[in-house]
Point group: C2
Chain length 404, copies 2
């Protein structure tokens, strides 16, 4: 019998490359301020589980023949998220996804299975991955205009619905847009449905980042199942944070069951999109929820919002027209100069840049970024610094009434 091979040691040059990667990541991590990735976490206690070929294949609530799983922990995470999203415990289903895209894909898939003739409405400020999903899934869709603050233009929604009353509307609502942190108002959306006496419609909420901020505020905007959402996607690697992208797909169970029944006859046995799924990321989320706790999550949300408010104040003191949406940790400012882009990891788009205030950040970090930003602004030729206009009264540094 041929012997099996055991993994050998890395060659020195390869180990050196890993060391260089490690150092580079260590250096870059503190300058990553433009992406919604909290860095205040430590999962080293869980590394031992990476000794096993673990896999959460299939539906977390149904169990699996593959016993090397963490389904039990995943279900606890899901039940906790059912609380955060005000789901009816008897009408709730979900699973831990590979990230925001899969959560949105799941919601849009469920919607299209329920309403095969449905039309998806989403604003131009929606993340580009949604267009990709809709193309992949072959679903009819209409992109709507946005207001200046990044929120959906409800007049455009109304006019678009008016001409498509024969097709059930599937609303893709941003609960915090990627660039400006704007929240689409579900109440207003539902009012428009009422206006046209539309009974068959579906609302999916993309709460990638804000889904772990809004549950801890006193007067959050409407975004939960109790407010009328039919499915919700939340990212795990954003506000909670972690080394592996992950997220949650959450939906009303009665819809999931209806779709399951209708696809069973064609042999679709699995209710999740990816099938083979990480057993480590559910454990990671479980660990985060257990160690941080609701009180800690609330503190993190308060800290981040206070820091965002501080950033806007400091920018404005130095004459930079920075602003943010209510309840948002995303601070928008004119496109930074080139040297700033080289030193800091930001994500500019269409004339603006943003920083995202998160639990691991401090006032000192914000100060340091604003110093560099302002210095480069006076010393370097202006880049594209066109700011969005300020027609909308909700734009700008407003009171932070939602958080007490």
């Amino acid at each position: 019998m041929p012997e099996r091979t055991s993994p050998k040691q890395l060659a020195k040059k390869d180990r050196d490359r890993l060391d260089a990667l490690y150092e580079q990541l260590k250096k870059t991590t503190h300058r990553t301020i433009g992406y919604p990735c909290n860095q205040a976490w430590d999962y080293s206690e869980l590394f031992r589980f990476l000794e096993f070929s673990i896999n959460n294949v299939g539906d977390p609530f149904e169990g699996s023949n593959y016993r090397m799983n963490t389904h039990e922990f995943e279900c606890e995470v899901l039940n906790k998220f059912a609380e955060y999203t005000k789901a009816d415990p008897d009408d709730f289903w979900g699973y831990v996804t590979t990230g925001g895209t899969e959560g949105n894909m799941y919601g849009l898939y469920l919607a299209r299975e329920l309403y095969p003739q449905g039309v998806v409405y989403f604003s131009e400020d929606t993340h580009y991955s949604v267009t990709k999903i809709l193309r992949l899934q072959h679903t009819r869709n209409i992109m709507l205009k946005s207001q200046d603050n990044g929120e959906m233009d409800y007049d455009d929604l109304r006019e678009s619905i008016r001409f498509n009353r024969d097709s059930p509307p599937i609303i893709f609502a941003n609960i915090g847009t990627t660039m400006k942190g704007a929240v689409d108002n579900i109440d207003k959306i539902r009012e428009i449905m009422d206006e046209f006496v539309i009974r068959e419609y579906y609302i999916h909420c993309d709460a990638a980042l804000s889904g772990m901020i809004l549950p801890f505020l006193n007067n959050p905007p409407p975004w939960t199942f109790a407010d009328g959402a039919d499915s919700i996607a939340i990212s795990g690697h954003k506000m909670i944070g972690g080394p592996l992208p992950c997220g949650l797909a959450l939906a009303r169970k009665k819809y999931v069951d209806r779709v399951s029944r209708s696809v069973e006859y064609v042999g679709v046995l699995d209710t999740t999109i990816t099938g083979s799924r990480s057993a480590f990321t559910p454990l990671m989320l479980w660990y985060a929820l257990r160690t941080i706790g609701d009180e800690g999550l609330e503190k993190n949300a308060r800290h981040s919002l206070a820091l965002a408010r501080y950033a806007v104040e400091q920018f404005q003191k130095r004459g930079v027209p920075a602003w943010r949406n209510v309840n948002s940790v995303t601070v928008v400012f004119p496109h930074p100069a080139k040297s700033v882009m080289e030193k800091w990891v930001v994500a500019p788009n269409r004339g603006i840049g943003h920083l995202i205030a998160l639990p691991h950040m401090t006032e000192e970090l914000i100060d340091s970024f604003i110093d560099d930003y302002c210095l480069a602004r006076t010393e370097e030729p202006p880049e594209d610094r066109k700011m969005p206009s300020s027609k909308d009264p909700r734009r700008g540094e407003t009171s932070n009434a939602g958080l007490i």
Copy 2:
């Protein structure tokens, strides 16, 4: 400013639960013989990279504004896989996926974008996730009969094509079916296309497990880009093995570019399906390829095939009609009794069970399983032990001509 919270320690009862999970996984891992997960690996040297919010968002070859990535290592992995799959270096593209499902989804998406009126053909032995993908993507499809050994029934393919000559065929070829390890013959498939003078067709190969076995055999069946594949999916957590599901989506670059151009105008900027992607799994695959090396991978393939041959011999010596396909590490036997199913982690389906011989396994482990299997067979009432008939000459323990 509200203080931020630091993760606290786990409560004792929670730590106890993790300890219990660890012990249970440790106990179960050695009895997991029915799933294609190699367990001979050790990635502990990479755990330090899990200190960072790393993310390989987007196209590995295009770079990213998010500098906390391992794209460079990912590209090296992809280039190595280009060799294994005999891709033209100038006509090759790919990325590290979240697992086999995403790789197949990518191939089928690419095919449908190239041939929007195309019809997907796949055998009844195809993994159930493919039906799910086709439903998600709204692609026309026809399920074909299989031969007894699990291979596609080419007569059925021929008849189905005959009645659909106006629609470009998209062939989903199994390079190793899930249950029986059968390989669909691309040469025969292409002959059928020639028969009907079909010029526009697409072949996707699902080489989940065998994609890391066949490159190391002397006379593998046709399955590579050189043999006519247009896209290939291979799993990372199977033959290579690892704690996190992952895989590779590989495709002809000219198709990827053609589809990219046509979707750019609708704002699809990202060529991958998931968008935010793990930066750890590409590093894991890189580490495996570097430490094992081509020689080691070949040894692993030989060891696994020899072990599969040994298992069939031992089963047959004890009167059990076990068999396997040529070049396959999957050993098929009648459905095991209940006690065997409780002790060992196997994956029975429609009257049969299988074990999958892998690098971490030994003859002793196989003996121990066969002992339990035979004992239960004599002591317990028969379960559903219907075996597939043996019409096909390729079924059964055949010579292992592909491997010297």
